[in-house]
């Protein structure tokens, strides 16, 4: 007599995966929707281009020439800037700055914000106090916060990083605190407490998973906002300093020549648009996935 499996082998494997890591599986399902696929494709191409920029364009982003402000051509698809540099190459290198900012500052911001939000589990006084600090941070719009930080630290990559990091703290902190406040009155939490489950384990095993969905979606939304913070601060000359390119720096330069070379801003503008659309689609897809259960 042989054992007959009750389900097909593939289905069993999927079931096992779901059982082992249902949260991750749910997030991954976002990338099987059209929005997720397109968003991931756009960002994938951009990340690849940014990573491979030194291989694709070994001459670097500062190869100057005597031609200036010529429009798009077969050789230079975005045209050349005021110093004869290829705007497409500079846009690709600029992506490195934007992506390095967003992909480091936003996850860190979400992590720190979540910890701040959950501080109430350690001490109610500490939790409430930190929330008031976050209230103060909310009072500063991203651009104003950035201008203050640049005034203190000088322009460059690090003030932009701090602006995105600090700017993202309040929402992540509030979402985490909301989850904590909601969950702490639940019977399973009370039962765990009665059973002597330590607060750290309670947070990690029970409260955090309940806050995770909102924080992940919020993180994706903040990546879109991060793109605009970089562009906004760089457009007013407070971002990374030339000749290092970023998308915002390129737009800043392009705007100065908008009457002489109107095509200058189109290339970097499209890249900025694609970057924000990519992150927007992923945040939408994640939102849809977490709400599907």
């Amino acid at each position: 007599m042989t054992d007959v499996p009750l389900t097909a082998p593939g289905a069993a494997a999927t079931a096992t995966r779901r059982r082992l890591n249902p949260t991750l599986s749910r997030y991954l399902s976002a990338f099987r929707t059209p929005r997720g696929v397109i968003g991931l494709s756009i960002l994938g191409i951009m990340v690849l281009a940014a990573l491979l920029a030194p291989v694709l364009f070994p001459g670097g982003y500062d190869q100057q020439g005597s031609n200036a402000l010529t429009g798009p051509s077969a050789q230079h698809i975005f045209g050349v800037d005021e110093f004869g540099r290829d705007i497409f190459i500079r846009s690709v290198y600029g992506l490195r700055v934007d992506l390095s900012l967003i992909l480091t500052a936003v996850p860190l911001s979400m992590a720190v914000g979540t910890l701040i939000g959950l501080a109430g589990a350690i001490s109610e006084w500490l939790g409430a106090g930190l929330q008031r600090v976050l209230d103060v941070v909310i009072g500063f719009p991203g651009l104003i916060l950035g201008i203050c930080l640049v005034a203190i630290l000088g322009p460059g990559w690090f003030p932009l990083f701090l602006t995105i990091l600090i700017g993202g703290l309040p929402t992540a902190g509030r979402l985490a605190r909301g989850a904590w406040l909601t969950q702490q009155g639940r019977e399973y939490v009370l039962a765990a407490r009665v059973l002597g489950v330590p607060p750290r384990k309670l947070l990690v095993r029970h409260v955090l998973p309940n806050a995770m969905d909102a924080i992940v979606v919020n993180g994706a939304v903040w990546m879109v906002i991060g793109v605009y913070i970089e562009a906004g601060l760089s457009i007013v000359g407070l971002g990374v300093q030339p000749p290092t390119p970023s998308i915002g720096v390129l737009l800043n330069n392009g705007l100065r020549f908008v009457t002489q070379a109107p095509t200058y801003i189109i290339g970097p503008g499209v890249v900025l648009l694609l970057l924000s659309v990519g992150f927007s689609l992923i945040s939408d897809a994640l939102n849809e996935a977490v709400n599907r259960r």
Partner: protein
């Protein structure tokens, strides 16, 4: 699902619409800046009457007329007058309040005869005592006057009657006209009220009527001016608009007819459109300066290599739009002894730069370069950085605000090589070498110090005849170019834009603007 699909589509449509908008805006801008863009620099016909409205970025500073404060750029020479003004074309002085003068052959004294038909706006006649009062204020270090260094060479000031005076100097002072240029004559009776913007009593074509701090300066025609028939306007309103972009917008919209303080690039762009024209005034030398005590720039060959490595013509074309000169000398071309051959000393020779670096044993050095946080300065830096990289030097930017930059100059330590901005080249060489921080032999910004240099500076400042001035300046230039501590990258005028409906704006040698004989071709107000 159905409720989500429209959001997805909406996002894509919005993206497409944004691209379309960008394209449309670009095409529209392209049409605006087409070849029909005006090259017209002429103003309309001279007409009497009307109110001219102009804008400046800084607020008035009526307590600082002797400092050539930028807040007084439009009002100072319109309300007040100097003894003489330099003729921009010839570089020689022209009388304003002074009817005539006689500089002694050794340039150690000057006799001045004042016009006898000059009255202050209060009605009081101008006398030699008013000139002496003004020159004493210039000498006073507390005033911080632009002409202080020259005025301190005055050993006696003697009025001979109401309209004649004699000045004597401790040493030859052929550059006394630089002192006169920057010393508008003040009324001793009301001088203490000037700082508050009250009783600002001058002898110019326009009367200081009122000042709203941070807002507006109102000037009205001085009807009893000695040559009132050539004053065309009835009133001048000077608006303070702090934002450079807003100044351009105000000119474009017709709210003001002229403005100073806008970025040169914006001024150039607007001037290409019909109905607007550029106005050049003053001038600056922009050197690449290096501290001669800091390695690797303590080696002369390295400094020379840097100067040979930089493509000045690209800076002229790509940063200044052609409105500049690629030169190695910091003087105006009309300066006595200006040598066009010496001005071409540092052409673009990257191979020579490499050889000099090899000779100095410097390879792959990395250093910071100080630059101001203005588009012009950072643009120049980008070309410099690129050029230096081509000869194996790695320059990193250290971007400073104007306050930080001024602080380093005041401390006499730039901290690093610098693309040095804000250097007026309006002064005669004799004045510049004794007052500009990068040239002075004592307490030099770049720590240039040697008996030979001190002697060369003294020769330039003391030379009293054109032949001596020419010889002294040539010798100074030879040393200056050989040592290569502050060789200019370019010299360029200050560019502003005006509506072609206004004419007669007269720039002074120092870049101030006299509106006294301006006119509106279509008078309003």
């Amino acid at each position: 699902m159905s409720s989500r699909t429209p959001a997805w589509r909406t996002r894509l449509i919005a993206a497409a619409a944004s691209v379309a908008l960008l394209t449309t805006a670009a095409c529209s801008a392209a049409t605006d800046s087409g070849p029909g863009g005006g090259k017209d620099t002429a103003a309309g016909p001279v007409r009497d009457g009307g109110t001219l409205t102009v804008a400046q970025a800084s607020d008035a500073d009526p307590g600082s007329f002797l400092k050539t404060s930028v807040g007084n750029i439009l009002s100072e020479y319109t309300v007040l007058e100097t003894l003489t003004l330099m003729d921009a074309k010839t570089g020689k002085p022209k009388g304003v309040l002074a009817k005539s003068w006689k500089l002694a052959p050794d340039a150690k004294s000057i006799d001045i005869t004042l016009r006898d038909d000059v009255t202050f706006h209060s009605g009081r006649k101008l006398t030699a005592r008013d000139v002496i009062f003004t020159l004493k204020k210039v000498r006073d270090p507390a005033t911080g006057a632009a002409g202080q260094a020259i005025a301190q060479q005055i050993t006696s000031m003697k009025a001979e009657g109401d309209h004649e005076l004699k000045l004597t100097f401790s040493k030859p002072t052929p550059n006394v006209f630089d002192l006169f240029e920057t010393a508008p004559i003040l009324n001793p009776a009301t001088y203490d009220d000037y700082a508050a913007g009250k009783n600002v009593d001058g002898t110019g074509r326009f009367v200081w009527k009122s000042w709203t701090p941070g807002g507006r300066i109102a000037l009205t025609k001085y009807a009893k001016y000695r040559d009132a028939k050539n004053t065309h306007l009835d009133k001048i309103n000077i608006q303070v608009i702090n934002d450079p972009t807003a100044i351009v917008s105000a000119i474009r919209s017709g709210r003001v007819q002229y403005g100073v303080g806008a970025a040169a690039l914006d001024a150039r762009s607007l001037s290409k459109q019909p109905g607007y024209a550029l106005l050049s005034s003053g001038g600056s030398a922009i050197p690449f300066s290096m501290d001669v005590t800091k390695a690797p720039f303590d080696k002369k060959e390295v400094r020379q290599a840097v100067q040979y490595a930089i493509d000045r013509r690209r800076i002229v074309q790509q940063v200044e739009g052609g409105h500049a000169d690629a030169t190695s000398l910091p003087w105006k071309k009309n300066a006595v002894g200006y040598d066009a051959g010496q001005a071409k000393h540092y052409g673009y020779q990257p191979d020579k730069a490499k050889k000099l670096l090899a000779k100095a044993g410097v390879k792959g050095a990395t250093f910071k370069v100080v630059t101001l946080n203005t588009p012009e300065a950072t643009s120049i830096f980008q070309i410099v950085k690129n050029n230096l990289a081509a000869v194996g030097l790695n320059a990193k930017p250290e971007v400073l605000s104007a306050t930080e930059y001024d602080g380093r100059i005041a401390k006499r330590d730039m901290g690093a090589p610098a693309v040095q901005m804000m250097n007026s080249n309006a002064l005669l060489p004799a004045s510049a070498v004794t007052s500009r921080p990068e040239f002075v032999p004592n307490d030099n910004l770049l720590h240039v110090k040697s008996p030979a240099y001190t002697k060369l500076v003294k020769n330039v400042s003391d030379a009293s005849t054109p032949a001596a001035q020419k010889k002294a300046l040539h010798a100074y230039n030879a040393y200056f170019l050989d040592q290569a501590f502050a060789v200019p990258l370019i010299t360029r005028p200050t560019l502003t834009v005006r509506s072609t409906s206004v004419g007669g704006i007269a720039p002074t040698q120092t870049g101030f603007l006299n509106l006294g004989q301006a006119w509106l071709s279509e008078p309003k107000g």
